[in-house]
Amino acid sequence: MDNETILQDFEERIARGEKIEPGDWMPDEYRRQLIRMISQHAHSEIVGQLPEGAWITRAPSIRRKMILLAKVQDEAGHGQYLYHAAETLGATREEMLEALLAGKAKYSNVFNYPTLTWADVGVIGYLVDFAAILNQTMLARCSYGPYARAMVRICAEENFHKKQGQDIVIRLAQGSPYQRAMVQDAIHRWWWPTLMMFGPPDSESPNTATLVRWKVKTRTNDELRQEFIDKIIPELLALGLSVPDAELHYDERLKRWVHGPIDWEELRQVIQGDGPCNKERMEARIQAHEDGLWVREAMIAYAQRTQA
């Protein structure tokens, strides 16, 4: 078969809803885009442990502490599922970790903002993890088998993350005036970064058309962002909470919520490494890697001794 026939065969498989497995023929660009997306996704899970991890020692009760520990441990596990999926495409764990620690890898904008109060833990679960679920539910239908399988596992666990966050937000929203003010402040600070998390608008997203044709993604950034707003706004309003968007309104004709302009320059800066906490996150990640050295050395020593 010549190249054109092979490509046509590949695209027909995708169109029929077939999943591509590691040994199957795939275009170099499909492989390249998947490694890019999956490794960035994996890095996001790993860095995503840090903002909430900061609250494990300060959780308000032993139950909340255990829940938060379990959630942060899940994020570490999600990173592992995803690094595995990228490895099936030929990327190595080592080069991905090096890229992250060297500050060369991109990861989600949203983890570069500070977690100032306990309410942030609730709002991250409720808003950020819900946004992630919408994106990941789409990716669970992705045409690449190992990525789709990792996403199915992740989505099941993310539901716990979202609900534990929503549970915190509901409690605070029904609590004392101080608690209400605290959760309102957290929502104001996380609202725009969460909307940006879905990525640049479709008009500025050069990869989208190809990714949709190959069913790596099946929906666009703007479509997912819209679904998020339409689902979360009625809930926030019911809780007596507001979002910091004076232009937000419900369009009766379009039957959807319409948001005001998003500061895409802020997203660009945060992704390029110039957000409020990028430096702190990278330092914490490198520190954790260095602090774990003795554990890795002990495991190697143990393995060598038991093999001898």
Binding site: P22, G77, T92, R149, R153, K163, P234, G240
Partner: protein, 184 residues
């Protein structure tokens, strides 16, 4: 230079009688530590009673597309050279559903992984439904110790707060929406 630890594929049995399923892989300096890593990565919830880890380089993977392009499987006449090694057990895993994963199907005794694949392919009733194959020599498998089931997997049982069902947010939101908002 590749300094990373070996990669081990992980297969999980979720309950007694269920087939082992391919769930992904972990890195570790040896198989024993791979099992511990695999527990932390793939069994934080009650979803495993037994695990296998297998060094990835010991596994033969073939997709149905690869098999179609392989003359040995598509040709009528097979000229299989007798192999001068003793037979040993190979575990055959197949993926049958597009969105599925590789699950244990059978064990055959042959002289090589490719002979095991050929034998399984020729004898498996629903082979045309197999989308992808995974062949594992039994001697490469490290299994979790049945005596350690409790210490490995029971700790996940009582952590019900890891399950989304532990949070009644849906009914809480319904109750809130059905009462007028007193803060307005």
């Amino acid at each position: 230079m590749d300094t990373q630890w070996p990669r081990f594929q992980v297969f999980v049995q979720s309950k007694s009688g269920a087939p082992y399923m391919d769930v992904g892989s972990v890195h570790a300096p040896d198989a024993e530590l791979a099992l511990l890593n695999a527990r932390d990565v793939f069994a934080r919830r009650p979803e495993s009673i037994s695990m296998w880890v297998v060094p990835v380089e010991a596994i033969l993977w073939k997709t149905s597309q690869e098999l179609r392009q392989d003359a040995e499987f598509t040709g009528d006449a097979h000229t299989i050279q007798p192999e001068n090694t003793a037979n040993q057990p190979y575990h055959i895993f197949c993926k049958f559903k597009q969105a599925g994963t590789h699950e244990f199907v059978t064990t055959v005794e042959t002289a090589s992984a490719s002979a095991a694949l050929r034998q399984a392919y020729q004898s498996l009733l629903h082979r045309q439904n197999a989308l992808s194959w995974c062949i594992i020599p039994d001697q490469a498998v490290t299994k979790s110790d049945p005596n350690e089931v409790d210490s490995l997997y029971a700790p996940a049982l009582d952590k019900t707060f890891r399950m989304s069902t532990d949070f009644r947010t849906v009914s809480a939101m319904r109750a809130i929406k059905s009462t007028p908002n007193e803060n307005e």
